[in-house]
Symmetry: C2
Subunit: 799 residues, 2 copies
């Protein structure tokens, strides 16, 4: 082990200006994948989200302009009703869309499907946080224009989004008409039959007020059933030749600024639009107040100017990338993909909103815009280390919905709190209970996110305000739900674990181990904070009951096959007939009934393997290796949530090529649209999983015992892996090469000291000195575990 | 044992003319339970069914005039879709209603809710098969009339129903107007939220033709989606003073004959209406042909006259009661209830329709008019012995829908045939697959009904035409569905058994034993008929595979508790918290989520107990006693299917008081409306179960080995129990008293000989001589098994 100065590394966000790993580029060749591109180019700041639709709004895969939490409720009906089946569901809806700018050239509308597209390029710049567009278009009548636009959703300014739009006449004078719209109730395509798609209500917003004044305007709308009010203001700047004139008009669902004028070749017309979005409960903020608020915000943005927004955006991203950037030398495509993934994680949440991050973030309306367990199990473990205040926001949102969770528990005749499987507004929205309400593990997932956040931040205020209560109420759920068998074991029967190709099983290992952690975490916290716990009605007996249940929690194991059972009896279920399953039969859920899927040993997504990832201390190394082999052979990865946990475990066991290929699948989920579902929005959990695959997999990070330990091992393709994470207020940077691991605290005072573990040995890092330690040899783990026929991830590890 | 003449017993249908056990009577006191009364007074003949609505159609609980198989299809939609979820469901609809006869007295409509009801009585006569009504009503203006009507649905004439309606002026002359309607698309009340209720489409019938001519008329309608055409003809006779005039009119949905006239006190107006009902596939019989057919049928009935219909009805019932009557001395209320039950079973099916019997028969639209497993498991075991040709009809209907069942198996990626859980037209209509499609036992239930029918009749033609194919295709389902475990056992995992408070379990004993019988039955039949089997593609290897699976079928047993497990692991599930379950919490399914019900040891309805009823040879006497005690304590009887099997087993084990009380619950299900659901239609399975409770329970009939054996034992309340059954073409009559059992063949030639077993000893009965043998003492079975708190059936055994 040797130490060195903490400053001899380039800053993490560095790179040459031409580095394509910081950009995502799409050209005219990509116009047949509009929906996918719109998701990939989505901009957001955790509050406002704009899908990457073309300025002119058409052609379009799926419009979308979201404000976090804005939704409508719709009725659910069942062919056969059942007690406590949710009768309503939340559905994300678009706020009025302020991104639209349409252009007419000599009265012909700009539509890239008509005329001649001389050039067309859109670039998402991951460092500046803008979406740029550059199009040269010759109208059917032969008039040429160049359109450049720059769009951003401001990271530092919560309500603000803006677009700068420029038109230039190319070869001949043109008459232009530019319409900048703020449009409510945009038409959306029909719902598809795929259960994973969204149900989209028609005209969900009812106009309350509309007002345009010169270059400014504001719309206020409300929803009918969810009781929400949304206000959007726009404010414009127009810059062009003297011939240019502007007129404004408004109707209840639209505010339009029309700019007309004649441009000579080389002349430009520039329109800059500043928009501000807010929503509030109808009985919270009156319409005129909300209108005034967004108008002031849009005006302020205009007053500061677009360049100021650009500069602020860059500054915010520079700060974010200091922690979030992951350097991956040796595979440029995946280096780009990782930065893309991290960019969208940066965009997805914010520290000051007390809102959470849905499965698709603000990038699309897949899963109806619902929040699922993905957030706590995949996204928050990353944000806890990169942007802990954002993780706190999301957990505070859960806490705010404890009343609904308690009410749901009462309805289900359970104890404590039962958080919804899917929701926006806080109430259960799952319409298929065996894979919804029965997946009680979401409660332990929330508790786990609380425990991890507390371990990483030691945020006592959060503990007192929200964390302890979340731990206590979820522990109460498990204690009441479980039962003791005659032999003194504690069981959780009739639940559904992560694997959606199984349901209503007994003693799912993932659920049991997570519930055990939940019970112990609540007990520990209650004992450390007896006064706070007392106010929640927790007494010594209750804590003792939690501990007893946790200590006795059963973990099914098949002694004959020497593997854990995903749930009791799993290894005795019939095997899946892979030999007679064709390539076209995947995803299996679209070709086989649950009747077949549930009763057989076929795994949609990591479940026992996920248990080994999140509760690594509960398994020996040998068990992990045997379990990985057993479950790899039965896991078809029909869920985008699967590859990352498999990568982590494959790396831990030493199958680094397989781990690398699984990591690649996780990180390319959306950029390569592997599941053909990216058009509905990005798979944030898969993108977060890519970070976990790198940092937990190759970095070997384990944090389940309140300390940070690393067992790094690099796959062949990677020459260097560097990442950062925040731990107790410090930024720890880890740089791995095939021979060395380097640990440093680049921002810390020289007397700061942090202890981590490196392959089982204590390493003390100070602010003064980085520590470099050798990478041990990874022992040969034997033959690579076999995936189901045809289901091994694409091999890129050896390329 | 001594023998005696076969003729010293009174004929079974005998009784005095005043015997109230042959009548069901309702008066003005019952007008607050209209829907229930309409079901109880429903008339039918297995083809046409008329609910017992008042002649004037109002007040009315729920109108209903059915033709067996007539239905519409409606779309099903799911909050979350799944592969192979049925997209449409059949729903029973009313055919045009020909029962309606409305009366105006001096322009005031007869409505028993207005004016003064001086007397009102309706009587269902179980021997003559008519519903009589006698009402004296004083109009609000003070005009008195007496209305008498007699209604029948003709048992011998499949399409025919008729009503004779008489009005008499009482104290003063009255101007009468009588409207006799044939009305399509009658308004029906809104659907309730209860999952067991019906979904009723509005205006399901589209008029194709309507025609009235003098006193006759015919309507032809079609359905939009199910492709059915229904025609109903009416033909009238009018008899009254000379002042009476008639006019006819028709519109697409209604044919009306209006009779007007003036009656002096004592004068009568009599209107007799003959109706005929047929339906056919739209692409089967053209509209004019169907219209001509029903017109001819109605005309023929009119030509023969109402008195001829009455006489034919009585003759048909006399013949039916010869076999179907059960004499139960000692409890007049239950004697009446048993006759009521048997009357509705006689009415429910017919030998010449190749149609089946739905859960509610033709008495209401509960369960959407669907056929469920009740038919094969409860109703056909009775009809096989009382009216074997009706059982054959129902099984022939199943065979006619083998193509849909094969297609469903392919869709589910299973082998052989998979019959629907709920259907009218043959396709799966279950909208909740864990308690629908997963209840694969329906296939074994059908096979069992085939085997029982064949054993009782030796009907080789049915075997060749339908029976063998049903056995083979269902055996193929089980063989493909099951799997072998390493220890050489054969398993059926992930199915739902009879108990609807459990779902998706492994190795449900009932399912496994029934599948075992199915496999063996198919193997036996195929080996006995190698040519027929060969034509179905059955070879030696396939038969050997069925036998191997049957021989290795696993039957879960808890060696520690010494009871069978309803399904694997059942006895290790958490116990239900009966101490904290209130009276108002029943039925549990309306107050607890499936999440709680499924994972706990709470049983909605006999499941393991039903297995012991239908497969008695698979359990020792000691096992039966222990199992009964264990499951009685956990069975809440939230299903009307439960009491009868429990009664059978309680009787077998020797708990005769409990058995009697359970029998009473089964037989009074509808007459006492125990489940508050009789308004939706009668619970035919519960009514059939009452016969099983008597004949299998107290008569001790067991037939699972191809011979008839009786282990009779009478409960204290019963002085004499006498019943008949058909066996291989003979009518066997059994009369039981506390001391003696008498077996006879009342209709057989003197050289006919039948062997039965009585308490384990062979008894040979000849046509010449009845055999009387002593009833052995029933050994004391120990303390009565405890039911769940508050759930013991009402105690009437000791009264």
């Amino acid at each position: 082990m040797h130490t060195s100065s903490a400053t001899d590394q380039p800053p993490p966000a560095a790179g040459t200006g031409d580095d394509e790993t910081w950009r995502i580029r799409r050209t005219a060749d990509d116009l047949d994948r509009l929906g996918e591109t719109e998701s990939i180019f989505a901009l957001g700041n955790g509050w406002v989200g704009w899908r990457g639709v073309l300025d002119e709004g058409a052609p379009c895969g799926m419009p979308g302009s979201y404000v976090n939490g804005l939704h409508e409720r719709r009725e659910l009906s069942y062919p056969e009703e059942g007690y406590a089946f949710p009768q309503e569901s939340d559905t994300v809806i678009s706020a009025p869309n302020a991104a639209l700018i349409r252009l007419w050239v000599d009265d012909e509308p700009l539509d890239i499907r008509t005329g001649t597209l001389r050039s067309h390029e859109r670039v998402l710049d991951l460092r500046t946080g803008v979406l740029r567009r550059d199009t040269e278009w010759i109208s059917p009548a032969g008039r040429g224009v160049r359109i450049r636009s720059t769009r951003l959703v401001s990271l530092p300014r919560r309500p603000v989004a803006a677009v700068r739009y420029e038109v230039e006449a190319l070869d001949a004078p043109v008459e232009l008409r530019v319409c900048s719209d703020l449009l409510a109730n945009e038409k959306v395509p029909e719902r598809s039959d795929d259960p994973r798609a969204a149900s989209v209500p028609t005209d969900p917003l009812t106009a309350e007020s509309y007002d345009a004044n010169g270059l400014d305007g504001v719309l206020v709308h409300r929803t009918e059933r969810s009781g929400q009010r949304v206000a959007v203001a726009v404010s414009h700047l127009v810059d062009g030749p003297d011939t240019v004139t502007t007129t404004g008009d408004c109707i209840p669902d639209r505010i339009r600024l029309t700019v007309t004028g004649r441009l000579h070749p080389g002349e430009r017309l520039r329109l800059t639009k500043f928009a501000a979005y807010e929503w509030a409960a109808v009985d919270g903020v009156p319409a005129d107040e909300l209108a005034a608020l967004v108008s002031a915000e849009a005006d302020a943005a205009r007053a500061d100017g677009f360049d100021a927004l650009l500069a602020d955006q860059r500054a915010a991203l520079d700060a974010a990338w200091q922690v979030a950037d992951v350097r991956l030398d040796g595979d440029q495509e995946l280096q780009q993909a990782v930065r893309f993934a991290m960019f969208h994680l940066i965009q997805a949440g914010r520290p000051d909103s007390d809102r959470t991050i849905s499965a698709k973030g603000l990038t699309g309306n897949g899963y109806d815009g619902h929040v699922l367990w993905d957030t706590e199990t995949y996204v928050l473990p990353v944000l806890t280390y990169l942007a802990p205040a954002v993780a706190r926001s999301a957990l505070t949102w859960r806490h705010a919905h404890l009343p609904e969770a308690r009410e749901r528990a009462r309805e289900l005749r359970l104890t404590g709190a039962t958080f919804p499987w899917r929701t926006i507004g806080g109430r259960e929205c799952s319409g298929y209970w065996p894979a919804g309400t029965a997946a009680l593990h979401v409660n332990a997932d929330i508790a786990d996110a609380v425990l991890r956040y507390l371990a990483a931040t030691d945020d006592q205020r959060f503990l007192a305000d929200a964390g302890l209560e979340l731990l206590v109420e979820t522990a109460r759920l498990w204690h009441g739900f479980g039962h003791w068998s005659g032999d003194g074991d504690f069981h959780l029967h009739g639940v559904t674990g992560p694997d959606e190709y199984a349901a209503l099983v007994d003693d799912n290992v993932f659920t049991n181990l997570m519930a055990k952690r939940n019970l112990r975490g609540a007990a520990d916290a209650a004992e450390r904070h007896p006064d706070l716990a007392g106010r929640l009605g927790v007494d010594h007996d209750e804590v003792a009951g939690w501990r007893a249940a946790a200590d006795a929690m059963v973990v099914p194991y098949d002694g004959e096959r020497e593997v854990h059972q995903q749930a009791a009896g799993f290894t005795e279920q019939p095997e899946w007939d892979f030999a007679n399953t064709g390539e076209d039969d995947y995803p299996l859920l679209l070709h086989f009934p649950y009747l077949e899927l549930y009763r057989k040993q076929v795994v949609k997504q990591a479940d026992l393997v996920l248990a080994m990832q999140v509760c690594p201390g509960e398994f020996t190394a040998a068990e992990k290796a045997r379990n990985l082999t057993y479950y790899e052979a039965r896991t078809v990865r029909d869920s985008s949530l699967s590859a990352a946990p498999q990568a982590v475990l494959a790396a831990e066991v030493g199958h680094l090529d397989l781990a690398y290929d699984l990591f690649a699948e996780s990180v390319l989920q959306d950029l390569a649209d592997l599941g053909d579902k990216t058009a509905d929005g990005l798979h944030l959990a898969s993108l977060a999983g890519a970070w976990l695959a790198l940092v937990q997999g190759f970095g070997g990070l384990r944090d389940d015992r309140g300390v940070l330990s690393f067992d790094p091992r690099l796959p062949r393709r990677i020459d260097r892996l560097a990442f950062s994470l925040r731990w107790r207020g410090h930024r720890l940077r880890v740089t791995l090469t095939p021979t060395e691991a380097r640990y440093e605290l680049p921002d810390a005072a020289s007397d700061t000291e942090v202890e981590v573990w490196h392959h089982g040995e204590s390493v003390r890092i100070t602010g003064a000195e980085a520590v470099t330690v050798p990478m041990p040899q990874v022992p040969d783990p034997g033959p690579e575990p076999a995936s189901p026929p045809g289901r091994r991830p694409t091999r890129r590890s050896a390329a």
